[in-house]
Symmetry: C2
DNA sequence: CTTTTCAGAATTGTATACAATTATACCAGA
DNA sequence: TCTGGTATAATTGTATACAATTCTGAAAAG
């Protein structure tokens, strides 16, 4: 076996998670391990590892007939935003308290890239940078449990977030809101960081729930 | 293979999680898959599955030297309670809105068992019923994402919760607080359920953090 | 005495063979 | 035609063999 910094199991997990949360497989689809073996060209072992991790995240279910795709419903979306409204501000507040200059530079870079892509009408890249911004804040909060709780919630909005930032006006507002949050964190102002984050999540929620028909 | 309703992998996962979160292995301990094979008497396959699930919960880490036990630190505990303070009330409020009579009976039974064990000075059983009460509320909230977020947080307090309910006076107050929460849910009063739950978590947090030295 | 190199031991990652259960389809009989 | 049963196929669960990397310790060189 040649050197591989990231295991096949990890690669399969990320690929499947991404495909499922992007909506490639409609809810109710049933896959089998052998499907994935032939499609992905690896043995059952790494596939099974990925499957079990996805099952733990309630993205799929394993049945006697195969792997049932659950995906993310609109109700899930509402449920997720109710939670994020309550704890995502905490992540920003904690980050504002303890962020280092290096971390701040990383956060700023993701923000500036987002601002770069917005006028180009490039939703894929905008979403990528939008996501990165949030994930960096989770990490910089220094609260592992909080990061562990928020990350799956954030990932599950992926599909709907693409539709949202495809609306140029919303993409624009979102970038502006991110900048406000960034400024508060850079000023080490937890209260402002929290309040602006809650406002941002509220706006994102309203836009996404409005746009989503399902 | 004989009939088995729950897979070996699941059994190993639950056993290992329980042992680690009970504090059987101190933080920093390194195990290997072969250790567990000889100790548990099953092959590497189900053990590896359990390991990967525990890794996803950040309870252990896999290194080139083996399986590193992380466990739950006092900082983790503070982080966890900050989150629970913000979202556990939501679970109770949602449960108050949508709970059925059957579910209510189940919740009441766990409460009455807790009240039964408290005067007997039986911390293990008290903790078991205390935990069940909370988990039932997560489930009855009807919000899968919320339940998925709260359950790992709740499990990680297990070790410290035993010490807490071993204090008879705290065990008594805890049962009383549970009854107040139960009454609010039974009355389908979301505001009261939420307020009483937040108060309960606050009390639990203060007591646990005070008792914990680590 | 210290440092470096190398061989082997220990460990995880991957593939595959086998076991057991469950679903499916076909056939027989009423 | 419908129902029931049985054999076969499909699927996941488990064990094990093999691959590749990494750690460890001892020996050799300076």
């Amino acid at each position: 076996m040649e050197h591989r910094t990231v295991s096949l199991a990890e690669q399969v997990f990320e690929r499947l998670e991404n495909e499922i949360l992007s909506g490639k497989f409609p809810r109710g689809t049933v896959l089998t391990e052998m499907n994935l073996v032939t499609e992905l060209g690896v043995s059952r072992t790494p596939i099974r590892e990925a499957i079990h991790r996805l099952e733990q995240e309630h993205v799929i279910e394993t049945t006697t007939k195969g792997i049932l795709i659950l995906g993310v419903t609109k109700k899930d979306l509402r449920d997720i935003f109710e939670i994020r409204l309550r704890i995502e501000g905490l992540a920003s507040a904690e980050a504002a308290k303890r962020i280092t200059d290096e971390e701040l530079a990383e956060l700023r870079e993701s923000l500036e890239l987002q601002e770069f892509y917005v006028p180009k009408n490039d939703p894929e890249h905008v979403r990528g940078m939008d996501s990165l911004f949030h994930r960096l804040i989770y990490r910089f909060s220094g609260n592992t449990a909080l990061s562990d709780a928020l990350l799956p919630l954030h990932k599950k909005v992926m599909k709907y977030r693409l539709a949202s930032v495809s609306d140029h006006s919303r993409a624009n507002s979102s970038a502006k809101e991110h900048r406000m949050i960034y400024e508060a964190i850079a000023n080490h102002d937890p209260e402002a960081a929290e309040a602006r984050t809650v406002e941002h999540i509220k706006n994102a929620m309203e836009h996404i729930l409005k746009e989503t028909n399902e």
